[in-house]
Subunit: 347 residues, 2 copies
DNA sequence: CTGTTAGCGCATTCAG
DNA sequence: CTGAATGCGCTAACAG
């Protein structure tokens, strides 16, 4: 089944292919009348322009590549939405690549996108080494990094001030009257994990509190990880009246751990999450959490990429987005009574 | 910045471009020795094959299009994962298009994909009319529909037996001892909404129970919708001891409504969800729910599309996947005491 | 305003 | 085993 080409239309209309091209792209001088006629014929014949041929001729594809660890992760799903929406508004298509946090897959995704000659690439939470990223930026066109930062003239970065987020959360807990704040830190390798921990430490120190090692524990960023870690942490440090979790899943895990231990949230223990994924509002108690502007992150990243692809001047330095504490039900003032776990016999 | 082409490599290697092409595609006769040499040069020059040019020459793009209402919806996110994984294993790239359940956007997405000359298209929960789908299938290559069915030689369908799922759930509740089972049906326009309702009605009738209209209520497929509807339904029909929800979000809404009304789940009211999105396992009580094999759905859809693109023979008729009831904590035997709401004065 | 010529980078003939 | 010619469908540059 051969598809209709501009030649077919040209023949039908008795003009040259070039004229058809002009009519379709509404470009160059052309008599409105012929243009109309050609368009009608194109319509009648069910013509669909061939972007592949056009791309080859123009050396631009109007496609961009999006590389994420996992679209089924609600965090990246929302970032992806922001990117896709912004891209489509600007008439760009997007290639979706998942990497599962696997460097090898990320590398192959990037190669594939280069082969596709996408006009720009957005890498979310890239696991590639700084050296590799720079090499990529050197040889390829516009590149935008989400949640990662390198210094390169053809690379844009969009970040969230994760440390600021946890600082705000810690301050909030302190103002509520909590003095002993535990941290369920995420993976040590993760960028946001390190930043969020840093924010916690800084906020503590800023308030002349020495962060105790016994109050901190790393865990995998899922509910199961949070549940296990929270259980251990609360036994080890029963004096804790509040917990800051690496993300909402970990916070939910902590919620479950509390249920197991017979602790009431927020009565006995205040819990604050991070990310504000849809889940956060739906568990009970609904999570007080640090909202990360995920959709915005996507919008800004794609917006930046668009500017770069259009060769517009973009201000140097990363675009930094601010998190915002969302107050719901999982953190209130400490009851002030005896230490929650101290008043019970632990299993 | 001009990119390296096979010509550059040919010049460097002192051979013709065709030889380079053969070396790279490992196709046609070529002396292993020259092949090796060429490949090394390509590597050194940082050559990336130009898929655009290749596509134009071969008339195949190795790209497919994926159209979903919303990737940030956990249901479609997982379907998308299944599709993307399977596609990448087979060396296909995927274009991602969101429609927001907007027919106009879906139409434009399809046009865009046609222009990209993707080798195949997967439409999830398409809102296009049957007529339009058939026209699309007529003029375009392989098409696979997820959650939708049409009869067309070049179109494949992958479905979940939604009715079977709710039938199983109703039977389970009946076996637990529930006689009054309410239905929080989803949107009337949705295909799965209608099917799930049908399954409910059939299961009731199969057990010689007349489904009462007062026990059924339609609602938007979100937690808020479920909460509002459950509240009204439970007041209207206080004799209900169990509730089947259109999906997990609606079920969570029902959970909240129960909390408002002072009803214990599962003690006073059993609730069964549908879909088994990650949330389902994380709320408390954890939802007993109908697991829809979302990732499978994606895998099968892409698998089918691959077969069709390879012109393999595919068995006619839709691929039908079976849901499976996942038993967790939100549904147990009825307590058997006085009707739950009857024993309290309603606000 | 419209047509002609050329080429984008590659693969597919067919010769050698 | 390798090279030369041709075309995929379209646009850019120039002529008319």
């Amino acid at each position: 089944m051969r598809r209709i080409t501009i030649k077919d239309i040209a023949r039908e209309a008795g003009v040259s292919p070039q004229t058809v091209s002009r009519a379709i792209n509404n470009k160059g001088e052309i008599r409105p009348q012929t243009r109309e006629r050609i368009l009608r014929i194109a319509e009648r014949l069910g013509y669909r322009p061939n972007s592949v041929a056009r791309s080859l001729a123009t050396q631009r594809t109007q496609n961009v590549g999006l590389v994420v660890p996992d679209v089924s992760n609600p965090f990246f799903a929302e970032v992806a939405r922001g990117i896709a929406d912004t891209a489509h508004q600007a008439n760009y298509n997007v290639f979706l690549c998942n990497t599962d946090e696997n460097v090898e897959r990320e590398r192959s995704a990037v190669h594939s996108l280069e082969a596709q000659r996408v006009d720009g690439i957005i890498l979310c939470s890239s696991r590639l080494s700084e050296g590799e990223l720079i090499k990529l930026a050197d040889r390829y066109g516009p590149l935008v990094l989400v949640n990662r930062q390198i210094d390169h003239p053809r690379t844009g970065c969009v970040l969230v001030d994760d440390a600021q987020g946890t600082e705000d959360a810690v301050r909030y807990l302190l103002e509520l009257g909590h003095h002993s704040i535990g941290l369920l830190a995420g993976p040590e390798v993760s960028h946001s994990g390190r930043e969020r921990k840093r924010g916690y430490l800084e906020a503590m120190r800023a308030h002349r509190l020495t962060p105790r090692a016994a109050w901190q524990m790393h865990c995998p960023p899922q509910a199961s990880g949070g549940q296990a870690a929270a259980g251990r942490l609360l036994r080890r440090a029963p004096e804790l009246t509040s917990l800051l979790a690496y993300n909402d899943l970990v916070a939910v895990g902590a919620l479950r751990a509390c249920a197991e231990l017979g602790l009431d949230v927020p009565g006995d223990l205040a819990i604050v999450g991070c990310d504000d994924i849809p889940l956060a509002a739906l568990v009970s108690p609904a999570l007080t959490t640090i909202h990360i502007p995920k959709y915005d992150l996507g919008q800004q990243a794609m917006g930046l990429l668009l500017s770069m692809m259009r060769d517009e001047d973009v201000p140097p330095g990363p675009i930094v987005l601010l998190p915002q504490l969302v107050i719901r039900d999982s953190a209130t003032e400490p009851t002030g009574g005896p230490q929650p776990l101290a008043k019970r016999s632990l299993p």
